[in-house]
């Protein structure tokens, strides 16, 4: 089916809301997306007719629920080119990253003299877990810096990722700058030195086709609520999860339990302690189906058009500057900008008075703000349901903000 944004919009009830007397212009999907009616209906239908706990029963509902949950796992796995048993359902991408960090720690992979490498553009969720792991183990955290254009500075890649590097964790697309990284180059270097790779795909999977096999990484993590699914469900994909010891202990992740000690189930169950995020996984699979039906290539093209319109529009405004890449080349749809003389909080609040929702703050990537010498930014991010009118409303809104604050 051809991509028709006006048809898509009908699936999102919130878009007919008014905010402060104006129609809602939602440009905050990089923070969290809305959820279409078919996804909500799929979850509800499951909960109302087939719900039960999974994995532990022989009765009909329990089997139906297990089927739905495991087939959701297959759907999500295919969505990123992975296999069923390589997919663990977590609460969010943050848990996915912490899972790997704790499991590597529990395996004893790291100690003094070892290094963990990240980048200066990481979301806190792909930074703080590694800081904490370094602290627990005595390992050293290193990172790649950024160029003025908001790209990774690869000039010292070989020094920063080196023989001591045990793990290289980086984002595929920056949630603040919009920058898309060249995963192949980074993975190639990691492979040269024998480091494991973990890619944070939170801003990639919702917006473009992703194939974990061709990316050739060890771990890939993403989060449901940014891709039309409910809050409360994330994913960790791993090439060889069985090689990791458990993270959390509890029901379902065990093989045998005695008071004196336990053995653990194979992956993915080993990493899903307790009752999993059952109906949320079912909804995430429905979201994958919804995105597949739209076509990830279509979505990417649609977003690129909007991003280009926004970047071009901002370029024409005086006193407004963009942090991060200025074209759609190797770039996602999150556009951070700064309005000269107006604090980002005031920009965001004033836009909200016009019904326009953008995010303001450090976007959980405080080191990027520090790198660019700003306390915060305003960020507009579009998704499947945004149209040109949304972008134009924002551009018009920024000008009204400027007028108001220079009055």
């Amino acid at each position: 089916m051809p991509f028709d944004v006006e048809v898509v919009r009908k699936d999102f009830p919130v878009l007919s809301r008014e905010v402060n007397g104006a129609p809602l212009v939602y440009l905050d999907s990089a923070s969290s997306s809305h959820k279409p009616t078919p996804v909500l209906d799929a979850e509800r239908q499951f909960v109302e007719q087939h719900y039960s706990n999974v994995h532990r029963g022989v009765h009909t509902l329990s089997q139906e629920a297990t089927d739905a949950y495991e087939s959701a796992r297959s759907t999500v796995a295919s969505f990123i080119g992975g296999a069923h048993d390589e997919v663990v359902f977590t609460k969010n991408v943050t848990e996915s990253v912490n899972l790997v960090a704790y499991a590597l720690g529990n395996r004893g992979d790291l100690g003094p003299g070892d290094e963990i490498c990240v980048t200066e553009m990481e979301h806190h969720s792909n930074l703080v877990p590694w800081q904490m792991l370094a602290q627990r183990t005595g390992a050293t955290l290193r990172w790649l810096g950024l160029t003025d254009e908001g790209r990774l500075d690869l000039s010292d890649l070989d020094a920063v990722v080196n023989e001591r590097t045990k793990l290289f964790a980086f984002t595929q697309v920056s949630n603040l700058l919009g920058t898309e990284n060249d995963v192949a180059t980074l993975v190639a270097r990691a492979k040269e030195v024998g480091a494991l790779t973990l890619v944070d795909g939170a801003q990639a999977v919702p917006h473009q086709p992703v194939d974990v096999r061709s990316l050739d990484v060890d771990f890939y993590a993403f989060t449901g609520h940014k891709m039309l699914a409910p809050s409360g469900v994330g994913v960790l994909w791993g090439r060889d999860l069985d090689a990791l010891p458990p993270f959390m202990g509890g029901g379902s992740m065990i093989e045998t339990v005695q008071m004196t000690g336990s053995t653990y189930a194979p992956a993915p169950e080993r990493f899903e302690a307790g009752t999993p995020v059952i109906s949320q996984a079912v909804a995430l699979a429905a979201a994958c189906d919804y995105l597949d039906a739209l076509g990830l290539d279509n979505i990417k093209a649609h977003e690129n058009a909007l991003t280009a319109r926004l970047l071009d529009g901002i370029r024409d405004l005086r006193g407004v500057s963009v942090l991060g890449p200025d074209t759609t080349e190797m770039r996602g749809s999150a556009v951070s900008f700064v309005v000269e003389g107006v604090h980002p909080h005031d920009v965001g609040q004033s836009l909200d008075e016009l019904g326009i929702a953008v995010r303001v703050g450090h976007h959980c990537a405080a080191p990027v703000c520090r790198r660019f010498g700003v306390p915060a930014t305003a960020r507009a991010s579009s998704y499947v349901y945004n149209n040109e009118a949304d972008i134009d409303a924002l551009l018009e809104g920024i000008q009204r903000v400027q007028e108001f604050w220079s009055a």
Binding site: H343, H345, D346, S350, E353, V360, G361
Partner: protein, 151 residues
């Protein structure tokens, strides 16, 4: 653009802040940060004979944090510390009222312009930045005063 949040008074104080700039003499200097938005204030307090003799500050941040700090200095400078603390309490209460409180204009003067801010929880911290810094600095000044007294 509506001005539910951005009252004229707030914009006035934001554009023309009172008592801004760090001054001597002072008893205590503190530095407070709002980690969620990066707003910062450095603030000095001089207390003398139970009276807030001077408050001076510098910093950067959004209109709400800047204007609120400016209003605060108007309200506490020259007041007995106890009265100033009462005003501080009243402002705190107003900020946590979620728009449910009729502010006391006699006590809060220009501060009543912030009544609307209490409806925006994300901005309450901005409005309190300078006030919290002042409270912190004043407590320190008082307790070091006490130590001097009892020494």
């Amino acid at each position: 653009m509506t001005e539910s949040l951005y009252q004229e008074i707030i914009l006035e104080h934001y554009k023309h802040p009172h008592h801004k700039g760090l001054r001597d003499p002072f008893d205590v200097e503190v530095h407070h940060v709002n980690p969620t938005c990066g707003d910062e204030v450095t603030l000095r307090v001089k207390v003398n004979g139970g009276v807030v003799e001077d408050v001076s500050y510098d910093g950067h941040g959004c209109s709400i944090s800047q204007a609120s700090t400016s209003v605060m200095t108007d309200l506490v400078i020259g007041k007995p510390v106890d009265d100033a603390l009462t005003t501080h309490e009243a402002f705190l209460e107003l900020m946590h009222s979620r728009g449910q409180l009729e502010p006391d204009e006699d006590l809060l003067e220009d501060g009543i312009a912030f009544a609307g801010v209490s409806k925006y929880p994300a901005r309450v911290k901005c409005a309190l930045l300078g006030w919290m810094a002042w409270k912190d600095a004043t407590s320190q000044a008082l307790s070091s005063d006490q130590k001097k007294d009892t020494a």
